[in-house]
C-alpha cells in the first residue's frame, strides 16, 4: 500500500483512501462542438502511457474528496510530487534531481 501526499490535506495518507483517475493535464475544450474528429480522438482516446515519469490524476475519494495531480515514476512506483488541480506541471528536471538526492540520503 502506497502513501500518497494529498495537497489539500497536506499530509501523506494511505492509498486505500484514494482512487486513481487517469492521465493529468488533459483539458476538455470549451468548444467541444468545434473539435475535429482527430482532435476529439486525441482528447478522449489517446494516452501517453509513459515509462518513467508520468503525470496522473488521483482523487482523495475517502478523504477530502478532492481531485489532484501527481508526478510519479512508473518504473520505481515512486511519487515525485503531488499538486493541486489547476496548478501547472512542475519542473521535471528539478524533481528528478531531488529524488536522486533523497535516494542518496538513505
Amino acid at each position: 500500500m502506497l502513501l500518497i501526499h494529498c495537497p489539500y490535506c497536506a499530509e501523506e495518507r494511505p492509498e486505500t483512501e484514494f482512487a486513481h483517475a487517469g492521465e493529468a493535464h488533459i483539458e476538455r475544450s470549451t468548444e467541444m462542438n468545434a473539435l475535429t474528429d482527430e482532435g476529439f480522438s486525441k482528447f478522449f482516446f489517446y494516452r501517453d502511457n509513459t515509462k518513467g515519469t508520468t503525470f496522473e490524476r488521483w482523487r482523495h475519494i475517502h478523504g477530502c474528496g478532492r481531485y489532484f495531480n501527481a508526478a510519479r515514476d512508473t518504473v520505481s512506483d515512486k511519487f515525485l510530487t503531488t499538486y493541486k488541480a489547476g496548478e501547472p506541471k512542475p519542473d521535471l528536471s528539478k524533481l528528478v534531481d531531488d529524488q536522486t538526492n533523497a535516494g542518496a540520503k538513505s
Partner: protein, 1003 residues
C-alpha cells in the same frame, strides 16, 4: 500428570533453559511422548531420539530434522488440534509443544518406516531435473486422467483440512518511527538506542524468546551476564517503555513500498486451550519511518553424498538443542565442517558427555587454537578431509571419510553428524525492499549493497561478524534512526559491553569433495524439493544459463523454505558449471513471504458477515415480515418478489404485475442513488452533465435525464426534480450512484470550477416508497398533508413537499410502471413506519407489494430501459430510442462531441427494439443472439442480442427487448434466435407492449 514419567533418552540433565518441573505430553504419529514446556516439536522429538520425521517430496527418502529454526526444509508435520484444526506443513522447529498437541508425519504411506513411494528413489534417473516438463508431455490426453492425478498423489506435501477454518484472525494497522526486524544482539541494541532517544519503536522476533544466536552461543557475556539473560533483560526493559512495542512469535514476512512491512504474530498456536476470543494469528501492517534490519544469518549445510539422512543437522542447531533445550542430537556425533562454528558445537557436546569421534574439516589449516582445544578435549581432528558419504538409511549410522585430495576411505560409526558450510547473511528483507545486494568475494556471501528504501541493515545480516562491531553498528543505527525521525529530541547515547563471541571463519558453497561433477551420488542442495548437485549441473548442460531458469527447471529454492539453505549452494554449482564467476550468474529474487503464512491471517476479518457489507433498506425488516424473497443487487439486499400461499416466483410476479396495473402496488425504491445538487449555477451544471435541457425546468417539475460519457455512450439515467431555483434532487440507478457522483465531482472540480454548485449524496437520507397503479392516489391521499394530489395540481412528472403520516416528504408524481404513480421520499429512519402504514392500506384495498422482478417486467412492458441491462457501454441515446432526450439546441454537454463521431452516426448500429415470439409462448433467454437466417453455416452472423425478456401477464404473451443492427428499420421483420435445442422465431416490434399511447400515466 499422573502417568509415569517417560524417559527422554537425549535430554541432558543440567543443560538447557527448560525446566523439568514443567512436563508436557504430545503425540507423534499416534505415539505419546514426553516433552518440557518451551520445547519445540523438533527439540522434543530429538529428546526422544526421533530424527526420522518425514519423507521427501519427490524420492520419498527418509528425512530428519536439519535445523532448529525457520529455515527448516525437512521436518514438516501436520499439526492437529481437532478435526477442523489440522494444519499441514508446519515446521517442527518452529511449532512449540503444548500439552495434548498431535503431530503426524507427512508424505508417507502406509507408514513412515515403510513407504511405498520409496520406489521413486530407485527409479530416480527418471525423475531428474525438469522431469515434470519431460515425462508428462505425451500423450496429451493422458494429462487429466493419468499424469496429473499421479503427480498430485505422489508429490503432495501434507493434506489440507476439509473443514471450514473455525479460527479467528485479527489484523491491525500500526505506525512507528523505527521498526526493528530481529531480536538478537543487534536488534536489541538498536532498539535500546532508538527507544532511549524517544523514538516510537516496534521490535519483533519470530521466536518465543528474544536473543537470536544467543540461544545457542553460550560463549558471549554482555554487560556482565550471559548473553541470553542479557537479551531477556533487554527485552523486559523495552517492553516496560511506553514508546516501545515488543512482539514475540512475530515474523516479518513482507517488505513493501514506503517502509510498509507485514508481520504475522502467532498468538495461540503454542497454547493448549486458547480462549475463543483470542485470534489464532494477528496480521500487523506496519508503516515505519525507518526500518532497522537485524535478521542475522543462517548456517549452511554441506553438500555431500546422502547428506539428507536423518540425524544429520546444522552445527549451530545442534548447539541450540543442547544449550537451549538441553537435548543432545545423538550419543556419538560426527562433525563435518568448513567453518569454525562446528568446533564450538563439538566442544559443547563433548563437555556435555557426548562422544565426538572426529571433526572432519575440509580445510588444510583451520584455526590452530580450535584444533588445539579439540585435541585437548580428546577429539580427533581430520583436516583436509571430507565426508564422502553418509551411511545408514532411516538414521545415519556412519560417515565415510577420506582426504580431500584422494586416498583411502575410513568408515567411522556415528549416530548423528553435525555440519557447517559457513553462514549466509539473511538479506531477504533487504532484498524485498528492492535493495541491491553486493558480493563479498572474500567470504563468498552476498551482503546489502545499494539501498532503495529508508532502512539500514545491522549485525550479521549486514556481514558484520565481530560482536563488538555488531553492537556498535546497531547502537549507531538506533540512535541515528531516532535522530532522523525526531531531530529536535536531545540525544542520549548508550553503551553495551560485550565479551566473547568469535567471528567464525571458513566457508564452502557448492558441492563438497566427493560430490563433484561426474560423481553419481545424491548430494542434496535443496532437501525439500529433492534437488541434488547433479540436477543443477544437468540443467546447465541442457542449456539453461540464467539462474532464474535453472531455479525453475530444477525447482531449487522453490519449496516452502524458499531456498534459505540451498540458494547459495545452487548458485555456486551453476556458476561452476557455467564457468562463470558467481556474481555474474546472479542471485534469484527474494519474494514475500519470508516464511509460509496462512491465508487466514491475510484474509483477517474479511470473511463471514465481514466479507462484504450487506446493505439493507430502512424497510427491510417489514419486507421480511411479509415474506419477501430477496436478491443481491451489488451489496444491497432487495425484495425480489413477495410469494403468497405457496406461490412460486412466476406466480407471484404474475400476480404482482397484474395487481399493480389493475389496482395498486407498492415498491421499495430506497436503493436508488440520490444526489442533492445545490447552488446558484445548479441548473447550468445539470445542463452540462445531462443530454437533456435543464435550464427551463420549473420548480416543482421532474425530468427524466440521460447522462453520457464524452464518447457519447449512455452512462446513467434518472429523474431530476427541481426543489427550488438553486436546488435539485437528482436520482441515479442503484448501481450507478457512486460513479455518477464521482463523475459529477470530477467535472465540477476540474472542468467547471468556476461554477457555484455543490453535490451531496442523499441516497441514504431518503427512504423511497413507490406507490403505483390506478388506485395509488386513493391509497396515499388520506395520509398526505399540505399537498394537493389532484391531476391538475400534481400532474405526471411533478413534485411537492409536504407531509405523509406526519413525516416530511418530497412527494414525486412519477412512474416506472406506466401507471399513475407516486414516489414518496421520507427521511430514512421513518421509512419503515410509513411503509407499514401504507402497506396496511394497500392490503385493505387488495393491492400488493411488488419486488424488483415485477418492477423489471412492468417497465419492460412499457419499454423503459435499465442502464446496464439494455445498454452495455456502447449504446447512444439514439440507439436506445431516446433521441428525444438529447437537447438539440444545446451548445455543450458531456458527450455532445462524442455523439457526432462517424461511427455513432453511421447506419447499421444496434438499436433497441421490441421482440415478439411468433409462437406466443416462448420466453427468450436474456443474452441470446439473434440471426437473420437460421440455416446459415456456423459460425453464424449475429445481428444482435436479447437484453430483456419476460412473460407479461398483462399482455398475456412473452415480451422482449433487443439490440439489433439497424433495428428501427426492421419493424415487422422475422428474425431468429437459435438456441441449443430449437430455433425461436421472433418478429421485430416497437418496445412497448402495454398502453402504447401512455394515457394511463395521467389518471
Amino acid at each position: 500428570m499422573n502417568a509415569p514419567v517417560l524417559i527422554q533418552p537425549n535430554r541432558i540433565a543440567g543443560k538447557g533453559r527448560l525446566s523439568v518441573a514443567d512436563p508436557m505430553r504430545f503425540t507423534f504419529d499416534g505415539k505419546t511422548l514426553p516433552a518440557l514446556k518451551g520445547d519445540t516439536v523438533a527439540s522434543a522429538l530429538i529428546a526422544n531420539d526421533i530424527h526420522l520425521v518425514g519423507r521427501s517430496f519427490k524420492y520419498h527418502r527418509p528425512r530428519g530434522i536439519v535445523s532448529a529454526g525457520p529455515e527448516e526444509p525437512n521436518a514438516l508435520l501436520g499439526i492437529q488440534r481437532d478435526v477442523a484444526r489440522h494444519t499441514p506443513n508446519i515446521r517442527a522447529t518452529v511449532q512449540e509443544v503444548y500439552d495434548g498437541l498431535e503431530a503426524t508425519s507427512q508424505n508417507r504411506w502406509p507408514s513412515l518406516k515403510y513407504d511405498i513411494g520409496e520406489i521413486n528413489d530407485v527409479v530416480s534417473p527418471l525423475l531428474s531435473a525438469g522431469f515434470y516438463y519431460k515425462t508428462f508431455m505425451w500423450p496429451r490426453k493422458a494429462w487429466d486422467k493419468v499424469y496429473e492425478p499421479f503427480i498430485r498423489n505422489a508429490a503432495g506435501l501434507g493434506k489440507a483440512p476439509v473443514h471450514k477454518d473455525p479460527d479467528r484472525y485479527s489484523s491491525q494497522h500500526e505506525h512507528c518511527d523505527v521498526l526493528i526486524l530481529g531480536g538478537g544482539v543487534a536488534g536489541l541494541s538498536a532498539a535500546l538506542a532508538a527507544a532511549k532517544n524517544g523514538a516510537r519503536v516496534i521490535i519483533c522476533d519470530e521466536q518465543p524468546t528474544f536473543g537470536g544466536a544467543l540461544h545457542f552461543d553460550t560463549d558471549i557475556v554482555i554487560d556482565g551476564m550471559d548473553g541470553f539473560s542479557w537479551a531477556q533483560q533487554a527485552m523486559a526493559k523495552l517492553a516496560a517503555m511506553d514508546n516501545v512495542r515488543v512482539l514475540t512469535r512475530t515474523t516479518a514476512f513482507g517488505y513493501y513500498a514506503q517502509n510498509y512491512v507485514g508481520l504475522i504474530e502467532r498468538v495461540s498456536e503454542h497454547l493448549s486451550a486458547p480462549s475463543a476470543d483470542l485470534p489464532r494469528e494477528r496480521l500487523w501492517e506496519v508503516r515505519a519511518k525507518k526500518v532497522i534490519i537485524a535478521t542475522g544469518s543462517i548456517e549452511r549445510h554441506m553438500v555431500f553424498a546422502n547428506n539428507d539422512r536423518p540425524g544429520i543437522l546444522l552445527a549451530s542447531s545442534a548447539r541450540t538443542y543442547l544449550n537451549h533445550y538441553g537435548v543432545a542430537v545423538g550419543k556419538n556425533v560426527g562433525v563435518y565442517t568448513a567453518n569454525d562454528s562446528a568446533y564450538a558445537a563439538a566442544f559443547d557436546l563433548k563437555e556435555a558427555g557426548i562422544n565426538i569421534p572426529a571433526i572432519v574439516d575440509i580445510r588444510e589449516h583451520p584455526n590452530a587454537e580450535l584444533v588445539a582445544k579439540a585435541k585437548a578435549l580428546g577429539i580427533r581432528v581430520l583436516t583436509g578431509h571430507g565426508v564422502m558419504a553418509a551411511g545408514g538409511k532411516l538414521r545415519v549410522s556412519s560417515m565415510s571419510v577420506a582426504p580431500v585430495n584422494g586416498g583411502a576411505r575410513e568408515v567411522i560409526p556415528i549416530d548423528s553428524i553435525i555440519m557447517s558450510g559457513g553462514w549466509t547473511p539473511s538479506v531477504h528483507m533487504f532484498s524485498q525492499s528492492r535493495g541491491k545486494v553486493a558480493y563479498d568475494a572474500a567470504k563468498s556471501r552476498f551482503v546489502p549493497g545499494v539501498y532503495a528504501q529508508d532502512c539500514v541493515s545491522v549485525g550479521s545480516c549486514n556481514g558484520t561478524d565481530d560482536l563488538s562491531a555488531i553492537i556498535d553498528e546497531a547502537i549507531k543505527a538506533g540512535e541515528e534512526a531516532a535522530t532522523y525521525v525526531r531531530p529536535n529530541t536531545s540525544q542520549v547515547s548508550i553503551s553495551i559491553e560485550a565479551n566473547g563471541g568469535n567471528a567464525w571463519e571458513g566457508t564452502l558453497i557448492g558441492a563438497a569433495p566427493g560430490a563433484e561433477a561426474g560423481k553419481v551420488v545424491k548430494a542434496f542442495v535443496d532437501f525439500q524439493n529433492d534437488v541434488t548437485a547433479k540436477d543443477i549441473r544437468l540443467a546447465v548442460q541442457e542449456g539453461f544459463q540464467s539462474i532464474e531458469h535453472v531455479k525453475r527447471f530444477t525447482t531449487n529454492g522453490m519449496a516452502t523454505d524458499q531456498g534459505k539453505l540451498s540458494n547459495m549452494h545452487g548458485l555456486a554449482i551453476a556458476a561452476e558449471a557455467l564457468g562463470k564467476e558467481l556474481p555474474e550468474v546472479g542471485l534469484t529474487t527474494f519474494r514475500a513471504p519470508y516464511t509460509p503464512i496462512t491465508f487466514g491471517a491475510l484474509v483477517s476479518h474479511s470473511k463471514g458477515a465481514l466479507f462484504e457489507p450487506t446493505r439493507k433498506t430502512p424497510m427491510h425488516e417489514s419486507e421480511v415480515a411479509i415474506g419477501a424473497v430477496f436478491e443481491d443487487v451489488g451489496n444491497w439486499k432487495r425484495a425480489w418478489y413477495y410469494p403468497k400461499g405457496g406461490e412460486d416466483m412466476h406466480a407471484a410476479v404474475n400476480r404482482e404485475c397484474k395487481t399493480t396495473r389493475t389496482n395498486v402496488g407498492m415498491f421499495d425504491a430506497s436503493t436508488l442513488g440520490k444526489i442533492e445538487v445545490v447552488g446558484p449555477d445548479a441548473a447550468e451544471f445539470l445542463n452540462l452533465i445531462y443530454t437533456n435541457p435543464f435550464l427551463k425546468l420549473g420548480v416543482g417539475k421532474l425530468r427524466y435525464g440521460i447522462m453520457c460519457r464524452e464518447d457519447g455512450f449512455i452512462y446513467d439515467d434518472g429523474v431530476v426534480a427541481r426543489i427550488a431555483e438553486d436546488r435539485f434532487h437528482v436520482t441515479t440507478t442503484t448501481g450507478g450512484a457512486p460513479r455518477v457522483l464521482n463523475m459529477m465531482e470530477d467535472y465540477l472540480q476540474t472542468e467547471f470550477p468556476h461554477m457555484k454548485v455543490w453535490l451531496t449524496s442523499t441516497s441514504e437520507q431518503w427512504a423511497v416508497i413507490a406507490v403505483q397503479g390506478p388506485k395509488s392516489r386513493d391509497i396515499i391521499a388520506p395520509f398526505v398533508d399540505g399537498i394537493d394530489l389532484s391531476a391538475e395540481a400534481l400532474p405526471h412528472m411533478s413534485m411537492a413537499e409536504g407531509t405523509i403520516c406526519g413525516v416530511p416528504t418530497r412527494l414525486m408524481r412519477m412512474s416506472f410502471t406506466g401507471e399513475m404513480g407516486f414516489e414518496i421520499n421520507v427521511p430514512a429512519d421513518y421509512g419503515r413506519a410509513v411503509w407499514d402504514t401504507l402497506y396496511e392500506a394497500v392490503e385493505a384495498a387488495d393491492g400488493c407489494a411488488y419486488g424488483t422482478e415485477s418492477m423489471h417486467v412492468l417497465r419492460a412492458e412499457k419499454g423503459y430501459i435499465i442502464v446496464g441491462q439494455d445498454t452495455d457501454g456502447t449504446v447512444t441515446p439514439h440507439d436506445a430510442g431516446l433521441d428525444w432526450a438529447v437537447g438539440k439546441k444545446k451548445t455543450d454537454f458531456v458527450g455532445i462531441r462524442g455523439l457526432k463521431r462517424p461511427d455513432l452516426v453511421a447506419s447499421g448500429r444496434r438499436q433497441l427494439v421490441g421482440l415478439k415470439s411468433i409462437d406466443g409462448r416462448s420466453v427468450l433467454e436474456e443474452g441470446a443472439q439473434i440471426v437473420e437466417d437460421p440455416n446459415q453455416p456456423v459460425p453464424m452472423k449475429m445481428i444482435g442480442w436479447v437484453s430483456s425478456s419476460y412473460w407479461s401477464e398483462n399482455a398475456q404473451k412473452p415480451i422482449a427487448m433487443a439490440l439489433i443492427e439497424d433495428g428501427f428499420n426492421l419493424m415487422g421483420k422475422k428474425l431468429y434466435v437459435p438456441m441449443a435445442n430449437e430455433v425461436i422465431e421472433v418478429e421485430v416490434c416497437k418496445a412497448v407492449f402495454v398502453d402504447e399511447e401512455g394515457g394511463r400515466l395521467h389518471g
